[in-house]
Symmetry: C2
Subunit: 191 residues, 2 copies
């Protein structure tokens, strides 16, 4: 048989594309194999099992998000940085809904620790330096920001905002404004 030139990277990329097209939940090994032009069992030379396929997509998404976040934060601070980071989150989710969903795939502790997840939350922490929030509040603030970004984006993606005429963009801006205000209130050195 002529070799198809599959690699685990190609499998992962294909799965990620598929996720964005049909939804992360619908991604199946069979569909990936089909798209790659090979038979299902051929995949098992490159991935351990179907779960690993999903884990790989999750790791890819986390990397991509962390990279974008790093780029967005460079040279910004305070409110600017907050908005930039938030927009990375929301922008990535809109551009790559399947990967975004993947980024919340439950990883075991070890895999999570080795992922780009920690790097990502490190950046939220960096952002907060501009607000001078002392520990342990800083951890609380990291969580609040993560929760709000993730919550907003996932509700928006799920269509929860479609029932009310107000544009999601406007609510997003308002939410970021409010968070900025709140964080400045929590700051050690109010300006």
């Amino acid at each position: 048989m002529a070799r198809a030139g599959i690699t685990s990277e190609r499998v992962t990329r294909t799965a990620a594309e598929l996720a964005d097209e049909i939804g992360f939940d619908q991604v199946t090994g069979s569909a990936v194999a089909r798209r790659l032009g090979v038979k299902d069992p051929s995949l098992y030379a490159h991935i351990r099992n179907a779960r690993e396929l999903k884990v790989r997509v999750a790791l890819l998404a986390l990397e991509e998000m962390a990279d974008r976040a790093a780029a967005a934060l460079a040279g910004r601070s305070g409110r600017d940085a907050l908005v930039a980071l938030a927009d990375v989150y929301r922008g990535y989710a809109k551009e790559h809904p399947g990967r975004y969903a993947a980024s919340h795939f439950e990883l075991d502790a070890e895999t999570a620790a080795g992922s780009a997840g920690p790097r990502h939350s490190e950046m939220t922490r960096a952002l907060l330096r501009g607000y001078d929030v002392p520990e342990p509040d800083q951890t609380d603030a990291v969580r609040l920001l993560g929760a709000t970004f993730h919550g907003f984006v996932s509700l928006e993606l799920a269509g929860s905002f479609r029932h009310t005429p107000r544009a999601a963009d406007d609510s997003w801006a308002w939410a970021l404004d409010t968070l900025d205000l709140a964080l400045r209130n929590r700051s050690r050195k109010p300006e």
Copy 2:
């Protein structure tokens, strides 16, 4: 054949229990049938298909959450109401993780409109009356609260907070404090 006394309600309840035990994603028609002591095809007299099974669990969860929310809000206002509603959210998610996940299952527009979802968001809106936030900010605030509650709880459930020693409870309290403060800042009549 002796009848098993299955009803679509029983099927739904069984699926909900199963979801809480093994995770919403793992709920399958076969598993429900097994637990009910019938063969797979018997389910199809009660539900249209596997998707409908999930939709039913989602609707059940939305109902239960809305009921709890209504009870929690009765007789409370302002900060008390905010905390009570938030705790309903988080408490339900911890008690019934599978149902909670189900409550974010993507419903088509019509089903969503007929669900307890709107009732639930109506309550968030009611809560906000205590803060006197004018429209359209009120809608933004409803979305911010929903996003924060959902985001926090789903990150917590996904284990995202386990990597840092700070107790999730404390971060939760801090987040609610911050939201309360922020909303009072946004209020038409500051006190």
